[in-house]
Amino acid sequence: MQLALFIIFGLLAVAGAINFLLQRHPINSALSLIVVMMSLAVLYWSLGAEFLAAAQVIVYSGAVMVLFVFVVMLLNAGEEERTHGSRAAYFAGIPGATAIFCLLSFVFLTNGKAFGSTDLINHLTHTTNNIAEISQVLFRDLLLPFEVTSVLILVAILGAVVLARKEQ
């Protein structure tokens, strides 16, 4: 069943990503991205990260992407023109991106044996409670990063206020 889930939602994610790439209207791109994120949420679930899956749906698709869509609407961004400001992006960038993909896949596949396979059942039986475990780590071992993110958010708020405010 896990394989089926992987194939279906993996393909859906890739299809969403490609659609994201090909769509010219920002809204369509945003919606495709939401498809990718939803599919990823399912894959998280299939890897035993059910809390993360929920957070992915709520935070990412729900909040962050809504923000994007909101700004697209606000600025009334229409279909993007295919201007040709940069040929370097094609001559250098696309081969670069392809090469990155090839190199990454090469390493992943050659090391495939060492990674082993998913073992959802074992995972589920061994880890009693995903959320309890998460809070154990989050509020103990990684307490400091958690606290420090408040500074990060403070900076973000401050920045958004400064930048978006109109000059008097």
């Binding site: 370097a88 696309i94 991106a97 190199l103 390493v107």
Partner: protein
């Protein structure tokens, strides 16, 4: 004098610099001059007392003093390697110190008169004191790093002083050129230092030279590499081929600066450095050969150019390059003593010549072109007589200073085991004749013949003195001239060779420092040969005198006729063999083109970027060669980032392991 006071010698001028540099602007001129002169005089007095304490029987051959800055640690300590802020004095340093402090003081004194009407008086003296400080650090340094600090420092001070008239573009450019060319030399010096660290784990003179002396089996190899790199440094500072180009341009600075920095002291730093590290050079006949050939070639080449210059200071500048070539030649044949001896006498007569030239320029309210001089002998008699001493000394006529030192070099070249020793001697001899010729040319053109200058009464010429009228300089300027003239006469008597009935005192004095432990065996030659060689060189000098006499005094038009007969050759020499243009064409332009093209193609989103914007940017300023390095497009940048990322990953995964 206790060793602990060594650091006072450089520190005194530095205080002068600090005071004048910070407060000088608000102080009256006499006070500025006093602040600059008194520390220099004190340094000279300290040198004298040092001299006596080291000449005393039983005195140590060298004394060391380690200054600790900010606590008792070494100056720099990196794991397993440390450098102290240490000064040391031995007999070689003592001679250099004498030249720097005494000639330096005389030139300071002269400047009081020469610069009296300049704006930026305080700035000038502050820079001059700064120069003294760095120069003294250079000669006192007990290790290569501190020597390098002084080395760079004098370059900096020289840069500031050449560009002293910074409102004049040519002066600013000359300063820049001097700086850049010297950096090329410093590159070699730095590399040499790194090699020294790598091989000896130290930069200390004593440590390194002791190590070399303890290992007679070290021949050539890395020592040659170090020596050659040091030579690169020395060619930069001492204006030798191929890095001599900055020195003639450096004449844009005030004349006392030319006398102090570009004749007597700073430019000899290269020779000092080679002599100082002779233990290394002695092990590398190859490097010595290079030094000798560079020296001989420079001597001849610069003398050629000097023969046809019209600017009085430029003649002296090329003459300096040529004389420095002699000193290099001396070092190259292993005759370090002769090199240092010539350094000493040259400091006297060349400083004299420059200061006298400055006095001439001062008299003519800034005129430097010899074609507009002449007949000055009666108008400025003190300058004339002192300069005459200088000219005779540099021409190598006995018994003046230049004769003994130059003769010593030629003799050493003649008897050196170097396979081309005789050729080097011949080149030196020809150069001696040319030197005599162009110096007497200068002498005749300036002081004899018809008066070709105009009487300025309200002019503001080069140095903007604006007194008007041709006049002798004040005593404060002529006094140094007289002292230096005296030194130019008697300065050579410390090195009269035994063949001529002397005792070669300087040779004996420098023996403990410069004696070769190596293998430089000289041919044993009779005193007769030595006297014969001396006679030949005197003859050659007299020939030069005679030629100049005929061409520029007896029949003043002849020189021009000869020039017309060989127009191409004359133009070639007059334009200094087009070396500046050559460098521009071969090095600078290709470098700029390389940067523009390579960057344009390799990094550019520009060739590929938007065409309309590219066109405007291209026409807007940088010329058709300039490709836009960066297109300004975020996507292009991301493209390069992605490509770079792929490359980094590939190198990391498949790359070689060093």
């Amino acid at each position: 004098m206790p060793a602990d006071f060594l650091w006072l010698i450089p520190l005194l001028p530095f205080t002068g610099f600090l005071i004048n540099g910070t407060l000088g602007r608000r102080l009256p001129r006499p006070l500025v001059a006093a602040i600059a002169l008194i520390p220099t005089a004190l340094s000279a007095i300290l040198w004298i007392s040092l001299w006596f304490s080291m000449k005393a029987p039983g005195a140590p051959e060298s004394i060391q003093s380690v200054a600790s800055l900010f606590g008792n640690t070494s100056w720099i300590a990196i794991s397993g390697f440390h450098v102290d802020f240490a000064f040391s004095v031995d007999h070689l340093t003592l001679i250099m110190l004498g030249v720097v402090t005494c000639v330096g003081f005389l030139i300071h004194l002269y400047s009081v008169g020469y610069m009296a009407h300049e704006e930026g008086y305080w700035r000038f003296f502050a820079y001059l004191n700064l120069f003294m400080f760095f120069m003294l650090v250079l000669v006192l340094a007990a290790n290569f790093l501190l020597l390098f600090v002084g080395w760079e420092g004098v370059g900096l001070a020289s840069y500031l002083l050449i560009g002293f008239y910074f409102k004049k573009d040519s002066a600013a450019n000359a300063g820049k050129k001097a700086f850049v060319v010297n950096r090329i030399g410093d590159f070699g010096f730095l590399l040499a230092m790194f090699l020294l660290i790598a091989h000896f784990g130290s930069l200390d003179f004593t440590t390194i030279f002791t190590a070399v002396n303890q290992h007679p089996e070290w021949q050539g190899g890395f020592l040659t590499a170090i020596a050659l790199l040091l030579v690169v440094g020395a060619t930069g500072k001492s204006a030798q081929i191929p890095l001599y180009v900055w020195l003639p341009d450096a004449m844009e600075g005030p004349t006392p600066v030319s006398a102090l920095i570009h004749a007597a002291t700073m430019v000899t730093a290269g020779i000092y450095m080679v002599a100082r590290s002779h233990a290394i050079f002695d092990r590398s006949p190859y490097a010595l050969g290079v030094v000798a050939i560079i020296g001989a070639a420079t001597a001849l080449f610069a003398a050629c150019i000097g023969m046809v210059q019209h600017d009085i200071k430029r003649v002296l500048a090329y003459s300096t390059v040529s004389q420095l070539g002699y000193m290099f030649l001396a070092c190259g044949v292993g005759a370090y003593t002769a090199g240092v001896f010539h350094l000493l006498t040259h400091a006297f007569f060349k400083a004299l010549l420059f200061l006298a030239a400055g006095s001439v320029i001062h008299a003519l309210s800034g005129e430097q072109d010899m074609r507009k001089m002449g007949g000055l002998r009666k108008r400025i008699p003190v300058t004339f007589w002192t300069m005459t001493m200088g000219v005779f000394a540099i021409a190598g006529l006995p018994p003046l200073a230049g004769f003994f030192s130059k003769d010593e070099i030629l003799f050493r070249a003649f008897v050196s085991p170097n396979p081309i020793g005789k050729l080097l001697w011949l080149v030196g001899l020809i150069t001696a004749g040319m030197t005599s010729f162009y110096m007497f040319r200068l002498w005749f053109k300036t002081f004899f013949g018809a008066e070709r200058f105009e009487e300025h009464h309200d002019s503001h010429g080069h140095d903007a003195h604006g007194h008007g009228g041709v006049h002798e300089s004040p005593l404060v300027m002529t006094l140094p001239l007289m002292v230096l003239a005296l030194l130019s006469i008697i300065g050579g008597w410390v090195g009269v060779p035994e063949a001529l009935g002397g005792h070669d005192e300087i040779g004996a004095f420098l023996e403990p420092v410069l004696s070769s432990t190596g293998v430089t065996v000289t041919e044993v030659v009779s005193h007769g040969t030595e006297i014969g060689l001396a006679a030949i060189s005197v003859l050659v000098a007299l020939t030069g005198l005679f030629a100049a006499y005929v061409l520029y005094y007896k029949k003043p038009g002849t020189a021009a006729t000869y020039a017309q007969r060989f127009p191409a050759l004359y133009r070639l020499v007059e334009n200094k063999f087009y070396i500046d243009e050559l460098y521009q064409a071969v090095i600078i332009t290709p470098l700029l083109m390389f940067t523009r093209i390579v960057l344009g193609i390799a990094i550019d989103g520009g060739v590929v970027g938007g065409s309309a914007a590219a066109a405007t940017a291209t026409t807007r300023g940088l010329g058709s060669l300039v490709r836009r390095v960066q297109s300004g497009n975020i996507r292009s940048y991301a493209g390069w980032l992605a490509l770079g990322a792929a490359a980094v990953i590939a190198v990391m995964i498949f790359g070689y392991t060093h």
